[in-house]
């Protein structure tokens, strides 16, 4: 999959850009570069409909002069001089942030498991075979089930980061991803479920998400007819149902900039209890095999493990170099420094602040799904939500819709609802009675990083509005 010498070519091109920075006379600079290659199959209507492959990449360059920064991005380094000139021109128009300097070289922990050679050797034909196996498995699980969308893909990315202060980091990552929309048609009534899975290492030929997708399309058939009004109820959100809301609301609330600007619902609450005392939230930037972990953040600062909420108490916040310098310079906080939390959205944007591999854990014994249902008594199970991106990260309020919802009575699932609204305030719900399930699954996120989440039973503060 990866052309010979891809990493070397990336570094050689980065050197061209670095030379242009040096020639410009700018005080400090850093650059990131990526070159990705991959194969991908699209599946529609139960068939593989397209095989695609290719490569893409580019560079982003940031210059810093007297605390002012400018940024530009480019694909072809023959335009390096022009890009650097643009970045320098922008820096001149930017406000100076006292104390903002790029980080110098510091020792960083080696993070393993970010590349799997087995993926480098995967050919499009191997992917086709895997997709054949998945389609066949879906059919064997339920012959009415059709994969109406999704696909399978692998990629390898060579990446590099260097700066004027001696940071030089380069390496390869791989990823393997599968996403499936499974639809069941029972007498013209469609039910469906989307489930996905991704990993830096090669996934099993038929990953677990396949049976989950079929299961949720099955169990939401033949919905109950309810005439009930909107009401408060305990809700068990599966890892897949919980993660979109959690990732939209919680990681942004823990960035230092939002905290000190009082734009977070946890502003001014450092060292106070903010969620249930049994719960902790940790960000593991050096997680082996993580999709977002690594030795260094997007500014070159070593990544680390950090506890953000310990036994319900807010203990830390996330900072990048520039954000911390700016908030100190503007007097919103006396002191702050990078926590190795600069994240990159690719070569087209400068680093921002975000989490990497976020874990929600409980000091209490985790429970099986059956135990959680028993604990719940009467309530609902929700496996996916629509509209999580409309949740309000400043307040934690959300109002979403689900078509993947089961009604629970006396600890037993009694049937599905066709559609329901689900609303509440996630920060408040996490501060109520919360029970965590056993099986932790990695989920992607709307903001940045990965969420490692079990099923979550929220007993308080959620409202169900059956359609």
């Amino acid at each position: 999959m990866l052309p010979d010498g891809a990493e070397e070519r990336l570094l050689a091109n980065a050197d061209v850009l670095a030379d242009a920075c040096r020639a410009s006379g700018v005080q400090q600079w850093d650059l990131i570069g990526f070159q990705s290659y991959g194969h991908q199959l699209d599946i529609e209507a139960g068939k593989i409909t397209m095989a695609a492959g290719g490569g893409e990449g580019g560079f982003g360059v940031r210059v810093v002069d007297d605390g002012r920064f400018g940024f530009a991005h480019l694909v072809d380094v023959s335009g390096a001089q022009r890009a650097v000139e643009q970045a320098v021109a922008i820096a001149k128009k930017s406000p100076s942030v006292a104390g903002f300097v790029l980080p110098s070289e510091q020792p960083a922990e080696q993070v393993n498991g970010r590349m799997d050679r087995a993926l480098l050797n995967m050919s499009p034909e191997d992917l086709l075979e895997q997709a054949d196996g998945i389609l066949s498995e879906v059919n064997s699980l339920d012959e009415r089930a059709v994969v109406t969308g999704g696909g399978v893909g692998v990629s390898a990315t060579a990446g590099c980061l260097m700066n004027s202060e001696g940071v030089l980091s380069a390496g390869m990552t791989t990823s393997h991803g599968i996403g499936l929309q499974v639809t069941l048609d029972a007498d013209g009534e469609l039910t469906s479920s989307y489930q996905g899975q991704s990993s830096r290492a090669k996934l099993p030929e038929v990953p677990e998400c396949v049976s989950r997708a079929v299961h949720w399309a099955q169990v939401t058939q033949n919905p109950l007819r309810l005439d009930s009004e909107a009401h408060d109820a305990p809700v068990l959100l599966t890892s897949e149902g919980f993660s979109p809301l959690f990732s939209m609301v919680v990681p942004p609330a823990m960035t230092g900039e939002k905290m000190v600007r009082k734009e977070s619902f946890w502003s001014d609450r450092m060292n106070e209890q903010v969620i249930n005392p049994s719960l902790s939230i940790r960000d593991n930037g050096v997680l082996e095999g993580g999709m977002s972990s690594g030795s260094r953040d997007a500014e070159g600062v070593p990544r680390r493990q950090q506890t953000l909420v310990e036994d319900g108490r807010l203990t830390n916040m996330l900072w990048s170099t520039r954000d911390s310098a700016q908030q100190v310079a503007e007097g919103r906080i006396d002191a702050a420094q990078s926590t190795g939390s600069a994240s990159s959205g690719g070569h087209q944007s400068p680093p921002s602040t975000g989490c990497t591999e976020l874990f929600l854990t409980s000091s209490e014994a985790s429970q099986s799904r059956d135990q959680m249902l028993e604990n719940m008594g009467d309530g609902y199970v929700v496996n996916s939500v629509m509209g999580a991106h409309t949740a309000n990260p400043s307040s934690g309020d959300f109002s979403v819709t689900t078509s993947s919802i089961l009604k629970v009575e006396g600890g037993e699932i009694v049937g599905a609802l066709k559609q329901a609204g689900l609303s509440g305030n996630l920060a408040k719900a996490l501060n109520g009675a919360v029970v965590l399930g056993r099986d932790v699954r990695r989920q992607g996120s709307y903001s940045s990083g990965s969420m490692h989440l079990p099923d979550v039973l929220l007993m308080d503060g959620l409202r169900i509005n059956p359609a």
Binding site: G79, K93, P95, T148, L190, T191, E263, A467
Partner: protein
């Protein structure tokens, strides 16, 4: 080397080709010699700029040039695709991409027909929608000045704690060459200014977003009273500080033009995308010609609506664009199609193929989607016989499950309607429903209809869209 020797420097009209036509023709010929029945090369060069300011100070400005190319090959009735930023590698990819397509074709079952494309006029031309004020010539200082105009309107109240403003513009240049002899070049521009006003009082934090933009250059931004745009965002943010949580339940709903647009985009537009219909993932499968909505409802999707954020002159398969009437007086009349789905359904392509950029293949997408105006004079007339309901306005986005036909969209702010009057402000209002039920529940539309705020639509790929309509009344919707 496929790339032309002379590239644009970004400051002159795009008349220079990125593709070396002779070399591309040879590459396409070789695809046919390997067994392709159709092949195309599409290159997109983007000259773009984004700017972000916070509280009147420049936070970041990002100029960029992106270039991407996608080779698409149809062989034995299946697709192979190769996308790359390395234009010089085209000829090396022809054989392997054709082989990929054939490997996919081998998996087709006997009862399944091969994929094919509906015929279209084969055109060689250039189409350039020139902006009055080319975004590539707009200096950063001018963008900052305009963003500060919006900022000046938004600040000035003790409860406003932050004002963010943003800018985005792009010049899109596309070249398409096919084995059929299509050789088209087209270009156009988009401009967008946006803001987010955050207010805080007694620990309550609220934000309000505003946007203005469309197809075109700097003139699009000049057409807007940016101070007023900032002031109205400030007023809305302050109102939200006093707003109550919305009631939950099935209620009469009035939606402003913004929300009407998002509603029709999510609830009807997506299920009308023929690739989803063909995949068995649309609740509108098999419903062409059927009455699916109130006869008041007529919906169009129109990429030729100049100025709309979803406008484009030629689709990404080289098909001329036109207005599509999706629903006429409540009857489903047309799906959105690209060439493959048009062949599948035995209709003519209607210019619905769009790709995010040069590195993505075209999907069936919306452009500018609107409900036509109705018969009511104004909102007061729509409201007068509502005893208890909700007026919702401004959009925080939406989502749809096209197969089930269920959708959700969220309002930026709302009011309670009591006895035909707006009474109390509400916040965090979302609306959900089922496409085939809600379209029948539309029972009032004001006469005036227009595109509302520009937006973006995600379907694996993100593309700019416009949507809008009149002010709309729905007799019953699930409000949360």
């Amino acid at each position: 080397m496929v790339m032309a020797a002379k590239q644009t420097d970004g400051h002159h009209p795009m008349t220079t080709r990125f593709l070396d036509q002779e070399k591309v023709r040879k590459a396409l010929d070789s695809a046919q010699s390997f067994g392709a029945t159709y092949a195309e090369v599409r290159v997109v060069a983007l000259t773009e700029s984004t700017v972000a300011m916070r509280d009147g100070a420049l936070e970041k400005a990002i100029p960029g040039q992106e270039l991407g190319m996608t080779l698409r090959v149809l062989a034995d009735g299946a697709w192979g695709v190769h996308s790359t930023t390395d234009l010089a590698s085209l000829s090396d990819q022809i054989e392997s991409t054709t082989r990929l397509a054939r490997a996919v074709a081998k998996r087709r079952s006997s009862e399944e027909g091969p994929k094919a494309l509906a015929e279209v006029p084969i055109i060689q031309d250039e189409t350039h929608w020139r902006s009055k004020l080319d975004v590539r010539h707009t200096e950063l200082d001018e963008k900052i000045r305009l963003m500060n105009e919006m900022h000046s309107g938004a600040i000035g109240h003790e409860d406003i704690v932050s004002v963010r403003t943003g800018w985005s513009d792009e010049h899109i240049h596309t070249e398409l060459m096919t084995t059929e002899g299509m050789d088209r070049v087209w270009s156009f521009q988009r401009s967008l200014i946006h803001g987010m006003v955050t207010a805080r009082r007694d620990g309550e934090v609220v934000s309000y977003r505003t946007r203005h933009g469309g197809q075109g250059g700097l003139e699009v931004i000049h057409d807007c009273d940016l101070v007023e745009l900032g002031e109205s965002a400030q007023r809305a943010a302050l109102r939200l500080l006093n707003a109550e949580r919305a009631p939950s339940g099935k209620l009469p709903l009035i939606a402003d033009k913004d929300l009407t647009g998002v509603y029709i985009h999510e609830a009807l537009g997506h299920p009308c995308e023929a690739d989803l219909v063909a995949a068995g993932d649309s609740c509108l499968d098999g419903k062409l010609g059927q009455q699916i909505g109130n006869e008041l409802v007529t919906v169009v999707d129109d990429p030729t609506m100049m100025g709309g954020y979803g406008a484009y002159p030629v689709d990404d398969e080289g098909v001329d664009t036109r207005e599509k009437v999706l629903i006429k007086n409540g009857v489903l009349t047309e799906y959105l199609n690209h060439r493959e789905t048009a062949h599948h359904f035995g209709v003519e392509p209607n210019g619905g193929a769009r790709a995010q950029d040069g590195l993505h293949h075209p999907l069936v997408r919306m452009s500018n989607t609107m409900i036509h105006g109705g018969t009511h004079a104004d909102m007061d007339e729509l409201m007068e016989d509502i005893q208890y309901g909700v007026y919702a306005c401004g959009t925080r986005g939406g989502q749809v499950d096209t197969g089930r036909g269920s959708f959700q969209f969220a309002a930026q702010e709302a009011w309670l309607i009591e006895n035909g009057e707006l009474t109390r402000p509400l916040k965090d209002v979302s609306v959900s429903g089922l496409t085939l039920e809600i379209l029948k529940n539309v029972n009032g539309l004001t006469r005036d209809a227009s595109l509302a705020s520009p937006g973006f639509c995600g379907k694996g790929q993100t593309v700019p869209v416009g949507d809008g309509g009149p002010i709309m009344r729905i007799s019953e919707a699930l409000v949360g």
